[in-house]
């Protein structure tokens, strides 16, 4: 690849933004650790964990992996396939519920 192409990528970003994101990631990690420390339970625990996780993942992808500055063509190609995963997750959650129901009912509870 030639020089000009590197420079295209070479339009680098200010160091401040990396340090900010870095700091935020530490804070978020600390927060999610605190979720366990304070032993939150139930839906609250769930939603906090997932929110912090998605925020962290989003920050890493957007800034450390430069996805925020990439063109939409690349971003869309990378993110749309996740719908298949989302579908898989939802269906497997339903499947697990069904499995655990038949197990509990026919192996233990009955009636």
């Amino acid at each position: 690849m030639d020089e000009t192409q590197n420079k295209a990528q070479g339009s680098t970003h200010k160091i401040g933004i990396y340090l900010w994101i870095w700091g935020l990631l530490f804070v978020l990690s600390f927060c999610s650790y605190m979720v366990d420390w304070f032993a939150f339970q139930g839906l609250l625990r769930w939603s906090l964990i997932v929110i912090f996780m998605l925020l962290k993942a989003g920050l890493i992808m957007a800034f450390f992996m430069h996805l925020f500055w990439e063109r939409y063509a690349l971003v869309n190609v990378l993110l749309w396939p996740m719908t298949a995963i989302a579908c898989f997750i939802v269906l497997m959650a339903a499947e697990a519920q069904y499995t655990v129901f038949t197990r509990a009912f026919y192996f233990f509870v009955g009636g």
Partner: protein, 280 residues
């Protein structure tokens, strides 16, 4: 040209084969006539499309075979035609899908009055468990299976005591009475399939699967395992006998319940200890 004739012959041959085939459905012996109807519907619509598409193709072969200097149409797209075809196909697909879904809804909703029958499948054979007087099957676990407890019934479950155990591959069913088949596998995947009943479902170790049907023709039917389960798969057959009410009662009264099995075994143990004592 001859190619067109051969393709035509293939299509005509397919239709003729269908008309004269001696190989067709076994006579249905359950309530799932609706499944046959959806198949027939799919068959006629699908078969029609197949014949039309192929005839059109053959027509093109006859009509437009290569000739130097033939005038050829240059029309990359025809939005109107494409739209018509899309809509027509979509309608056709909906017409096929909707009845299928309705039948399926029926298939997964077991009637309340269905008789529960647990089918136990293993490599390579079958046994059955029917609820006793209380109409409820006791809970059971694979890990609890032993010589004394061939179905792994939980001993502390009162529902299990009067369960009727059939340690043979012959199952009797009452005619015109819905049955819910509960499938339990002790080792690998199996499938309790009677072609005449149309319905089938896999037995999976670790969970209980089910399906239901209503046998409506007295007779003897062969059960085939329809999910590959190892070397003995092809030999994993059983018999279902659909009885009239009277015969069914006679049969079921002859069967052993779980509590009588336990009693018999206790008796046997007692005897063996006594013999052992006498011998000493």
């Amino acid at each position: 040209m001859h190619a067109g004739f051969i393709f035509l012959a293939v299509i005509v041959g397919s239709v003729l084969f269908h008309i004269f085939t001696p190989w067709w459905w076994t006579d249905i012996a359950s309530n799932w006539g609706a499944m046959d109807d959806t198949i027939n519907l799919t068959f006629w619509i699908g078969g029609g499309v197949f014949i039309l598409v192929c005839l059109f193709m053959v027509y093109c072969v006859f009509k437009f075979s290569y000739k130097e200097g033939r005038k050829v149409e240059y029309k990359p797209e025809d939005h109107k035609l494409e739209k018509i075809l899309t809509i027509a196909t979509t309608i056709g697909i909906i017409a096929l899908l909707a009845p299928g879904l309705i039948v399926y809804k029926n298939y997964i909703d077991t009637p309340k009055n269905a008789l529960h029958v647990e089918v136990n499948a293993w490599q390579w054979g079958w046994q059955y468990r029917l609820p006793g007087e209380d109409g409820i099957l006791g809970t059971a676990q694979v890990a609890k299976i032993s010589d004394d407890n061939p179905f792994g019934i939980n001993l502390d479950d009162p529902n299990g005591k009067d369960d009727i155990l059939i340690q043979s591959d012959e199952l009797h069913l009452k005619t015109d009475k819905p049955v819910k088949i509960l499938l339990r596998s002790l080792d690998v995947l199996h499938n309790f399939y009677v072609p005449q009943f149309r319905a089938k479902m896999d037995a999976i170790p670790g969970i209980i699967s089910y399906y239901w049907f209503e046998p409506n023709k007295v007779g003897e039917y062969e059960v085939l395992c329809a999910e590959y389960c190892g070397v003995g798969h092809y030999g994993m057959r059983a018999i279902v006998i659909v009885d009239s009410e009277e015969n069914y009662e006679n049969w079921i009264n002859e069967q052993e319940t779980f509590s009588s099995l336990i009693a018999k075994q206790d008796n046997n143990k007692l005897k063996t200890t006594r013999i052992a004592k006498n011998n000493n």
